[in-house]
């Protein structure tokens, strides 16, 4: 049995070494969809952070009572419940953003990061480390989304947080508003990080 990870190790894993978006290439759907406006990205991040943390915590608390064979069903139920709560709360308090995010809040249910962490971590670890793992992983996701949004919003709309930052004559890049813009941004970003800071043996062998 490997030694349990310490809090800071868990954080390093989530934010950098094992970053869900850059290293594991998970959660790409929402990464492409909600990163053209920073405000939307922030709300989406908050929703995901809440969902991953709470799902991890709940799955971990129930880990010794959950029958092995139906654990996926239980996890899906737990995740879906938290996501619906997030969806209702955003709809009630931030109606405009709720509209802008459209189906993507509901689609957190299918975000691989959530179930991935429940399966890979929470079901074998104690509640507190599981919560921390959820926090670290979702912050890792959030950080990448924010970086991509900070690149996309100014190029696509000429604004940052809705405030105009580009010069008057700037022509917005339409592609940055659409999903392909995120695809290129994310691809280049992941390539840069993996080439510059190789983690796996394969990446190291290829050199840079």
């Amino acid at each position: 049995m490997p030694k349990p990870l310490s809090g800071s190790q868990i954080f390093l894993q989530g934010l950098w070494n094992d970053n869900p978006v850059l290293r594991q290439i998970l959660g790409i759907c929402s990464t492409l969809a909600v990163t053209n406006l920073l405000v939307n990205t922030l709300v989406m991040n908050a929703g995901l952070i809440f969902t991953v943390c709470m799902s991890n915590l709940t799955v971990s608390i129930l880990r010794n009572y959950t029958p092995m064979r139906i654990r996926m069903m239980a996890q899906t139920l737990i995740i879906a419940s938290y996501v619906i709560i997030v969806d209702i709360v955003i709809g009630a308090y931030l109606p405009d953003i709720s509209e802008a995010l459209g189906p993507y809040v509901g689609l957190i249910i299918t975000n691989c990061i959530v179930m991935g962490r429940c399966e890979a971590f929470a079901r074998n670890n104690r509640p507190w480390p599981s919560f921390v793992d959820g926090l670290a992983m979702s912050l890792g996701y959030a950080a990448v989304l924010l970086i991509i949004a900070v690149i996309r919003e100014p190029l696509g709309f000429g604004t940052l947080f809705g405030y105009r930052i580009m010069p008057e004559g700037f022509t917005p890049w339409t592609i940055m508003i659409m999903a392909p813009g995120a695809f290129f941004t994310l691809g280049l970003f992941a390539w840069f990080v993996r080439a510059k800071f190789p983690q796996t043996a394969e990446e190291k062998k290829q050199g840079h």
Binding site: P67, L77, S81, V89, G91, P95, M178
Partner: protein, 211 residues
């Protein structure tokens, strides 16, 4: 056998618990969500009717203004929102819903016409799933402002009340600028707004005139 029973009981209890929690959250926020939607629609109706609201109007203020200045009436399955002047007597405009299939999904909008139904006063689109920065620009003022003052008349054959043409000079009075890069959305808007205006003029308006 015992294991299976345990699994079933476990899942049942878990489902019961989470369904209860989600329902509680839903019920607790239901009213707020409905008010949000109602106020959003009322803001749009007030805006197209040309009834001013100050910039940071609260939900309550919107509801009050709406109550005072707008009266919804049902005319042959279509809801008409009648806008009244400050004195509450004179009719200033009629508003009604327009909508149809956009490029990606349904588009909902609201149009207002003058008391004689001879011109469009304003239009607004409030719910859609068009591409941000492209089709979604149907909500921007430069696009919707073009509709103000557009003459209304029943058209014959395949003629239309207005056309959306690529932006540029040399266009007729009923040719408005389409959205560059969103030909699909522009075409869809042209189709369903024309259709709904025509339907209003032919069906609803006759009945309104009769009283």
């Amino acid at each position: 056998m015992k294991k299976r029973l345990y699994s079933m009981v476990f899942m049942f209890v878990l489902t019961f618990f989470f369904a209860a929690v989600v329902s509680a959250v839903k019920v607790h926020n239901e009213e707020r969500i409905q008010t949000n939607q109602q106020v959003k629609l009322q803001r749009i109706i007030l805006a197209v009717l040309g009834i001013p609201l100050h910039e940071r109007a609260t939900n309550r203020e919107v509801l009050e203004t709406f109550e005072r200045r707008v009266k919804p009436i049902e005319v042959k399955q279509q809801t008409l929102y009648v806008g009244y002047a400050e004195n509450g007597k004179q009719i200033t405009a009629y508003a009604f819903a327009v909508g149809g299939a956009g490029f990606w999904g349904p588009v909902y909008g609201m149009v207002s016409v003058d008391p004689e139904a001879s011109r469009i006063l304003g239009i607004a689109f409030y719910r859609h799933s068009e591409t941000p920065g492209l089709g979604a620009r149907i909500t921007e003022p430069w696009f919707t402002k073009q509709f103000a003052g557009l003459p209304l008349f029943p058209v014959e054959g395949d003629k239309k009340i207005f056309y959306l043409k690529p932006a540029g000079p040399g266009k007729g009075p009923n040719e408005l600028d389409a959205i560059t890069g969103a030909t699909g959305t522009s075409r869809a808007v042209e189709t369903f707004v024309n259709r709904d205006l025509d339907r209003f003029l032919r069906e609803t308006w006759k009945l309104v005139k009769k009283g």
